[in-house]
């Protein structure tokens, strides 16, 4: 079990850029850090660079330049030291459809080397209320059920850092609220850090202590939801988001 180094940020990114072969610059000289034990949102319009940034943090995509330190480790050089301590969920990445929920989770528990996988599956089944469909094929589940299973997969290894791409996308308000409740509960109990990309501003205001807003591959605003509302003179984060998305010049603060 790796030691937690207090004071070291969960995520530390310096000068991160991604330029694709077609010369499209998806992420442009981005630097930020996320302290341990908070929930941080990564916001931005479509094509702002959020998913590209998350992919680089996960090691799925190699950056063109810059450095990434996750939980104190250099992600580009020691990826496999960090991955067992991370979790990831996204509605755009599936689990095998023909395998049952229990089979899918068992395979991932073994991949992560989870001790006593059956007990961990039972804990997560209770926490995320997925016990009723553990024997169903993943492909037969509703969107809300899939999201909960995907979240269970990402929590199997009790991650210190959880990266989430639109965790409540396409969910009804009830299902979305349950997911948020589970996330809050996990974060409170474990002290984990959560970085989530979302388009749901209310969700971000409810869950997150820190917000990073991207536009055209750069971070153009950062702070707590209250700080951003104050800075932009808006009474909601949605207003801040719209100001930034539609602005031609740089942010006021």
């Amino acid at each position: 079990m790796p030691e937690r180094v207090e004071g070291v940020p969960a995520i530390e990114v310096q000068g991160l850029s991604k330029r694709f072969a077609n010369e499209v610059v998806a992420v442009d000289d981005v630097s930020f850090s996320v302290p341990r034990g908070i929930v941080c949102a990564l916001l931005g319009g479509n094509g702002a660079g959020k998913t590209t940034t998350l992919s680089m943090l996960l090691g799925l995509l190699l950056p063109s330049s810059g450095s990434i330190r996750i939980l104190g480790e250099d992600m580009l050089r020691h990826r496999y030291r960090v991955l067992p301590r991370m979790g990831f969920t996204s509605p755009y990445v599936d689990l095998p459809q023909r395998l049952s929920v229990a089979q899918n989770l068992t395979v991932y528990a073994r991949l992560y080397g989870v001790p006593q996988p059956a007990r961990r599956l039972a804990e997560l089944a209770e926490m995320l209320e997925i016990g009723g469909f553990m024997s169903k094929p993943y492909g037969a589940l509703s969107a809300g059920q899939r999201t909960r299973v995907s979240l269970a997969k990402s929590l199997l290894n009790r991650p210190e850092l959880l990266l989430m791409d639109e965790p409540t996308a396409s969910l009804d308000p009830d299902s979305a609220d349950r997911i948020r409740g589970c996330l809050r509960e996990y974060q409170r109990a474990s002290g984990a850090t959560i970085l989530l990309a979302s388009h749901n501003m209310q969700e971000v205001e409810r869950l997150c202590q820190q917000v990073l807003i991207m536009r055209r591959g750069r971070i153009v605003a950062r702070g707590s939801p209250a700080e951003l509302r104050h800075c932009y003179g808006r009474d909601s984060l949605e207003g801040v988001f719209l100001d930034i998305a539609r602005a031609q010049e740089s942010a006021p603060c």
């Binding site: 991604k18 694709f20 072969a21 998913t51 590209t52 992919s55 996960l58 090691g59 799925l60 995509l61 190699l62 496999y80 991955l83 067992p84 991370m86 990831f88 996204s90 755009y92 990445v93 599936d94 689990l95 095998p96 459809q97 023909r98 395998l99 089979q103 068992t106 395979v107 991932y108 073994r110 991949l111 992560y112 080397g113 997969k153």
Partner: protein, 268 residues
Amino acid sequence: MLNAAASFNRILAMMLRYTYLLRGSWPRILELIYWPTVQMILWGFINQFLVGQSAWLAQAAGLFIAAVLLWDVLFRAQLGVSLVFFEELYSRNLGHLFVSPLRPHELVMALLGISLVRTLIGVGAAALLAIVFYHYSIFDMGLYLLAFFVNLLVMGWAIGLLVVALVLRYGLGAESLAWVVIFAITPVSGVYYPVSVLPAWLQPVAQGLPASHVFEGMRAVLLEQRFPLDLFWYAVGLNIVYLAVGAGVFLYAFHVARRRGLLLHVGE
């Protein structure tokens, strides 16, 4: 030592995933057995007919049946790697797999392992049915059969990894390669006839394939009751090169996929 055990467990986890998939679908198991059996029956009849027409073939009654069964070892081994990897693409699962501690080489090992299982099921069933239908047992070749089997299996793995690498690089548009690539090398592999039948300019191509040495070896065992060690070692040497190239190209394609951001999108 601890790392090796963890790595082994991850390979087993992936093999478990593929076994779940196979176990949960009887049409998949049937499909594994179907083509090798149909091929065996077809070539069995051809063999029966030609034994009465050819003194050469009469020396070894089951020559064509042995040839088709061994050829299917190569084909099933290649498909076992390629098709199982495609399952990951169809299910858009690569993004989850490669943010887990699974290393690319561990995925390769799991693919090779499940390919062995699928080949044994498919060709094994056809070989047993050959005993029932034609009273011909390929197992009579004994340990020589093991030498032929391993060489063809490894060549199939190498080609399978090359196909997977191409699909990783160019997307599922390239998946039909999995079905056609083997047939491109059949004519020069000497499956049903000696390599000497080929035009002189084509024979060096055949010599560069491990399969052609295996099938020459098979004919020597069945027709002349001798095992040519030199052909065996040629096949082994070539296979080492083929497998190294297959694995190397796959790992390079994986690196390119990470650079281009294909791991999240390749199944779409």
